[in-house]
């Protein structure tokens, strides 16, 4: 017997590997004209893995204090072998992960994959997306450069606009009245301990729920299959779907490598708390649609503060968005048309405002 076979037998006798492989071989994935959207969830999971791995490597050298943070990242990028690659991949992977997670969310939304009994899968996914945004916001400050320092000031200022609890949120996030070294250590704690802990548990729950209910088939395909059962197509999860997923992961890896080599993530200049904010301060691209909206809202709308109304509006919109599946009353109904319309509007708004933000003066 070969070595691999021996190891496999050894494991099989102890953890029932055979049963697991058999289970995966029996697990089926629907095969239809929208199947390719399924890959974005897996790609997001892959990029999450890349983040964990590169994040751990960065932790070996990063020092979370205002006097050392910038220098330690500079050290990683110039002195540590392949440090530049690891840091660039970590930054690019974070952005790609938010992109793939957003694509995954909108594909789930428009393919109606949130329908009963998958509402909890949608909710856990939405929570994960918010966590990813939290990862992005907290990680942005860690290099302690000028851009991130002032963007964090603006970001926490906006959080402070929330009525009643805004001030408390702002002080809690900053670790005081202003963005200081206390904010840096706090964000570091969120970024490497609090958020990963919650995210890992939520990823496990999300994957478990996907496993429990299987892949959702879009209503239009489901109707076609019911009308013509002979057209129903499925593929085995293992190895057929998994090999395709693997191909998607490799494509993501190639994109990451290309971005890291041709457009390494810049470090910028070290933050100076006493300097005035440089022109052109703006957040990461995934917050740009909100940033642009808040910029465009007039300072006063009737007797209310414009920015406050904007912040409240976004909070309300996010709550509605998360709860949209519960308004969907099934195929053909008026409610479903409204929900789909809201989705089209949301997607259009986010895309248009993001693009506009980069072209607006």
């Amino acid at each position: 017997m070969d070595v691999l076979g021996t190891v496999r037998k050894w494991l099989d006798e102890r953890i029932g590997l055979h049963g697991l492989v058999e289970f995966m071989e029996h697990k089926k994935v629907p095969q239809h004209r929208y199947s390719h959207w399924y890959f974005f969830g897996g790609m997001t999971l892959f990029l999450f893995g890349v983040q964990v791995l590169t994040g751990i490597l960065l932790l070996l050298y990063y020092r979370p204090s205002p006097n050392e943070a910038y220098e330690s990242v500079e050290y990683i990028m110039t002195q540590v072998r392949f440090g530049w690659l690891i840091r660039s991949i970590h930054s690019w992977s974070a952005n790609l992960m938010i992109l793939t997670a957003s694509v995954h969310m909108f594909s789930v939304f428009f393919l109606k994959a949130y329908r009963k009994p998958r509402e909890l899968t949608w909710l856990s996914g939405m929570l994960l997306l918010f966590l990813l945004l939290g990862f992005g916001f907290s990680g942005y400050l860690l290099p302690w450069n000028t851009l991130s320092f002032f963007a964090t000031k603006v970001g926490t200022d906006i959080a402070g606009q929330v009525p009643v609890i805004g001030k408390w949120i702002s002080v809690f996030l900053r670790g005081g009245e202003d963005v200081t070294g206390a904010t840096l250590t706090r964000f570091f704690g969120f970024h490497v301990a609090v958020l990963p802990g919650i995210a890992t548990a939520l990823v496990a729950l999300h994957v478990l729920l996907v496993q429990r209910f299987g892949m959702s088939v879009p209503p239009s395909v489901e109707a076609e299959w019911e009308a013509r059962p002979s057209e129903r197509r499925e593929m085995r999860f293992f190895p057929n779907f998994l090999l395709r997923e693997l191909m998607a992961w490799y494509v993501a890896l190639a994109i990451l490598g290309g971005l890291a080599a041709f457009k390494p993530w810049e470090l910028g200049t070290k933050a100076d708390a006493f300097a005035s904010a440089p022109p052109g301060i703006r957040p990461e691209w995934y917050f740009m649609f909100m940033f642009q909206t808040l910029k465009m809202i007039p300072p006063k709308i009737w007797i209310f503060d414009g920015e406050l109304l904007g912040v409240l509006g976004f909070n309300a919109a996010f709550v509605v968005w998360v709860l949209l599946p519960f308004f969907d009353r099934g195929p053909g109904g008026r409610a479903q048309r409204w929900v789909t319309g809201a989705g089209v509007f949301a997607l259009g708004y986010v895309v248009v405002m993001t693009v506009y933000a980069y072209f607006a003066k």
């Binding site: 530049w84 190895p239 190639a254 993530w265 470090l267």
Partner: protein, 426 residues
Amino acid sequence: MVCRGAKNALIMVALSCCLFLLAAPGLPAQAKNSCINCHGLFDPPLGINAEEFAGSIHAQKGLLCTSCHGGDSSSDDMTQAMGKAAGFRGHIERAQIPALCGKCHSDAAYMRGFNPSVRTDQLSQYQTSVHGKMLAKGNSHVAVCIDCHTTHNIHPPNDPRSSVYPANVARTCARCHANAEYMKDYKIPTNQFALYSTSVHHEALAVRGDLSAPTCSTCHGSHGAAPPGVASVERVCSTCHVFQQQLFDSGPHKAAFGAMGFPGCITCHSNHAIQHPSDGSIGTGNTAFCVRCHVEGDAGYTAAAGMHAGLVKLDGEIQRSEEILKRAQVSGVEVGQTAMALTEAQDDLTKARVAIHSARPDAVDQNIQAGLKVTDKTWQAGLAAMKELKYRRQGLVASIVAIVLVLIALAFLIRKIEAPKPGETK
């Protein structure tokens, strides 16, 4: 209803009185100034702008019209207010103005009550100035206090509204000194302001807002205004340009300029229209100052050419390093530390440019060589960065090739797995 309104009005009045009484101790006591009643309505020269006067430093400190003009401003009776018995002086002759202002401004004990650190030597300084000396000789056209400080709208010199605020001084002097008609009897140029407006000093003060940059009074003095003589030019410039003066004094030009009666710094740099010097200011080119005295073949000519070559070489090396580091940075290779090191070479270049004032090639070369050592290292670091960039891109190409091969292998594997087995229909 009426009764209730009256009651409310009474309460308001009572509250207002209380507030006034509470606020009153914090306000300076304002004596009656009846002069304004009439002179606030007149046109000049008898009229004054009451609002402007109220904002002036004198009014702010509680001074009245009577402080300068005499009289009794507490009386509404014109004959009493402007009567001789009340010491009314009326119009003050120009020749009397410095003494009148000096009555308070030269009284240290009196002025201490307003500002303990205020200077009180203005009158004595003025008496040593060209203005003061000519006034003493009976020329009342020369500047007296009010020509620079204005009459009723006087502000402290650190107030941007003041005519003697650093950024306003040159324009204030130019009111007379750029007026060819007014200055025709004095046989002095009137283009100083036009020349100064093109200078590096004006650019620093007016464009960059550097209030410490020189204006007319910085070199000529304010109350003691006079042209710096040939002997004192160098000392005037060195109040700011300390190193340049020390180096000049240590070099051969000091004695040579003295022997020829050249006025130090301005021999090369001129006076009012001082431009930012360039590396072309030294050497043997068309823009070089040196060729005004030195001719081909003399030692100074050779030294100037050598110093110019050194500056140009170091400047070129710095630019070469900057260019390669910029390319590396734009391409994503972190070169922040090397760029920081390159600032040392920039410092050496600055030191070499300052050392030019010694006119000693060895002193200049010492800084040039130190800078070249730095640029050699930064250039090597730039080359290494470009090599690293090439290595990264080659690595990427190798990785992409490997990934594509894996993708092809996976595609074949999937095809093989999904191929219909013999006897099986798809």
